[in-house]
Symmetry: C2
């Protein structure tokens, strides 16, 4: 197989309609949604079945051509964008979008890689069950993508990241073979954990084509509250209080700075914060899920919040009185990244820090960043319950966002990532490494871990054709 034979061979395998090669047809696949990375694919292959995915991989392998798998293209680290060489094939999974099965008795859903997360959630809900993975991009993100990045989101506190929900995988190896591993078992100790190896590997070890996912009972009742807090330490104290009292029923605990709310108010004026934005520098969106009923949920929430208010640990709070009010609270949280995007590219971080260090971490880094860039806006929010902050830095009002980013990104990253790693934290909590953070991986990761990772990569993808350059840069 020569590289000139590849496109005709792909067309023969998939049908001519499912191999795109014209630049206009490929535009949507060549760039990530933040428009940070733009590549030039040789072609975009759109297989409709697992067998076709395997055929594409075998043809590319024979031609020595690299493959970039792509799901909903909602990643934040450039993991699904081809390079500029004009040689790579984007393998888009979007045609493989079926929910293959839902088993209510065993509480398992099997979906194809290209199935949009929200569709899988809807299918579970229609069966009376809950697929708890929930994130802002769920209307476009796909099952293959959320697993390949081990996505997190707002319900990790209770249900874990994507990895924790996955019982089995079907995947195509770098050799173009199909691993049929769609177990639905809660327990299956039969050899090495290939499932978790492919999860989070961002398509560099093989291509996930389908997954079996654990479902949970739908809660009988949910209550959502919006709490005003004097500082991050108070938010951490409220988290500990809520975890002690609610245990597994605490299903959301999002920290939001007032700066985030001001951005949302500017760009989405129809979204009204439940408490005055200037009432406090920090807010928490807290969600309780209850297996009994509304009254019980309400009583438990009131107990926790009442005690916090009485102790002076919270400044004020609002409890959603209806589903609509609860959804409005979540809408504010979910519009923060969109409000930010309206002001141009920002310097994003996806930091994890042990919760016990969170308050001093935020205070110290905010002071240092403000000294460094007095007018910059810190837009800090995230999943405090998981110790995960999106600690973003927006150009000063009226400033050129791109120029600001170009000038400050490296120093901001170094400051925040150093500070996080120094207290046992991480430079990537839930977004992954992709192209954006390969230098951080090399710099911060334990060198023995890096050696092991390289050995695994060579073992499973000896030709280096699976999403090359992502996660692990080419070995020196």
């Amino acid at each position: 197989m020569t590289t000139t034979d590849l496109l005709p061979a792909l067309r023969a395998a998939l049908g001519a309609d499912y191999v795109l090669a014209a630049p206009a047809d490929m535009a949507g696949y060549a760039e990530d949604w933040r428009k940070r990375y733009r590549g030039v694919p040789r072609a975009v292959a759109l297989p409709g079945t697992t067998e076709q995915v395997a055929a594409v991989v075998r043809l590319c392998r024979d031609a020595g051509v690299a493959i970039v798998p792509q799901g909903g293209n909602t990643g934040l680290v450039g993991g699904a964008t081809p390079d500029a060489s004009g040689t790579q094939i984007v393998l888009a999974l979007k045609r493989m979008r079926r929910v293959r099965s839902i088993d209510v008795a065993d509480r398992v859903l099997v979906a194809e890689a290209g199935c949009v997360l929200a569709e899988a959630q809807r299918a579970a809900r229609a069966a009376g069950l809950l697929l708890p993975l929930s994130l802002a991009a769920e209307g476009s993100a796909t099952i293959g993508g959320v697993l390949s990045t081990n996505a997190g989101g707002t319900a990790v506190l209770r249900y874990g990241s994507a990895r924790a929900l996955c019982l089995g995988l079907e995947a195509v190896t770098a050799q173009g073979e199909i691993w049929r591993g769609l177990s639905t078992l809660r327990k299956d100790n039969t050899g090495y954990d290939l499932r978790d190896l492919l999860i989070g590997a961002e398509g560099t070890l093989g291509i996930i084509t389908a997954a079996s996912l654990m479902l949970y009972p739908q809660p009988a009742a949910r209550r959502t509250a919006w709490v005003a807090l004097a500082d991050v330490a108070a938010a951490v104290a409220l988290l500990n209080r809520a975890r002690d009292a609610l245990d597994a029923d605490l299903t959301g605990f999002e920290l939001i700075s007032s700066a985030c709310l001001r951005l949302v108010a500017r760009h989405f004026p129809a979204l009204h914060a439940p408490l005055p934005i200037d009432a406090a520098p920090w807010f928490v969106l807290l969600e309780l899920s209850d297996s009994e009923d509304d009254a019980h949920a309400q009583a438990r929430l009131e107990t926790v919040l009442g005690a916090a208010l009485e102790a002076g640990a919270a400044l004020d709070c609002a409890v959603a009185a209806s589903l609509a009010q609860a959804e409005a609270m979540w809408a504010i949280r979910e519009h923060i990244p969109l409000a930010q995007a309206s002001e141009g590219l920002n310097i994003k971080h996806d930091i994890a820090v042990p919760v016990s260090h969170m308050a001093t971490f935020v205070a110290d880094t905010a002071t240092r960043l403000t000294q460094m860039m007095p007018q910059a806006r810190l837009v800090i929010f995230g999943h405090l319950g998981d110790g995960n902050l999106h600690y973003n830095i927006q150009a000063p009002v009226q400033a050129d966002a791109d120029a600001f980013r170009a000038q400050h990104e490296h120093a901001c990253n170094a400051l925040l990532h150093d500070a996080a790693v120094r207290v046992g934290g991480s430079f990537s909590a839930e977004h992954g490494v992709g192209l954006l953070k390969t230098a951080e991986l090399i710099h911060y990761k334990d060198p023995v871990a890096l050696q092991m990772m390289r050995a695994v990569k060579r073992a499973l993808d000896p030709q280096g054709l699976m999403n090359p350059g992502k996660v692990l840069p080419a070995a020196s």
Copy 2:
């Protein structure tokens, strides 16, 4: 390094007291606790630090000598027993038994590999927290062992297997290097999931020397009940009813056949079953953990059990009225394997089956086994909530247990494992593969998965010196 230099070199590295070479000293390390496997080690090395583990690995590597890591030696598949060659070094982790730290604010415990599980549980409890991994061997099993086998136990339903509790690892690679990966973060997406690759690898990819484990709040109240049921289908129906009503607060759901109880009554007459053994063919031990208080726990349990009794779905039930009564119920459950052992070796199975198939699986296989061996005793119990049964077969009363096992083991395994795999089940739910089930792994595992496993093994242990012959038999 020649193999004759190895022992002096080990003594120089560890101190002469910590390298055992006399057969009498090595006896306890040469045999598994069930006395199914017996090997002949060249020596037993007892390192006291991670650096010493690394030194032992490097010395063995230089000498081309294989290493068999051993924790509490409570495994059920021979994974920690040396072979008969007289050449292998047993690397016993028992001197590395410290709880290195407990962080109450971040709810993390860091323990060394040789720390006994019960000691780690106690340390967590003393800090007001819960380490939920719980299994019959917890008084001897070690953290390194429960992770290397991804052990399960009685609380998996709520908290997951050992893997689900592990946040980070420290490990020594086959090259004798130390991977320092003791993260305490809930979220850390920075490259391939080496942690989960080593967990469950039974020491064949490296040696776990320490782990950080997630802790949970201690429940405010617990309630334990003993329920009599007409058949397995009724037990599954009760499970579904309890999961819907209790969600995460259902922390135990153990199925026990009346045959198990008769064995316990014979060998441990001081243990009294809460309901007459002949009242039903099946019993369930159900545990509820509550984050509120005793009264709330009691009310919820009564609601679930009351509805089941009223619907005729349960025959009878007893709720423990005190902690002592609850512990007595669990003691019966935990004495089943001991009662079995008192009658000689039995044919053990550790089967997983989707819960929806459980009733027909048990009925069909019991009929066929009884046709095949009319006098054999089926001793069936296990973690029904996880779809995991210990489906053991005991020789007829008065028969020679060893002769029975030798005659029937292969046919019993084939019958039960075929039947389990046919409905999407597994031949090893929580015990692992070790030496006992390598043939099953080759027979039942997806061939592409086996290829990937072999590639990973070659990549991380190219000399094949890490616990050779376990999990994956030598490649043909």
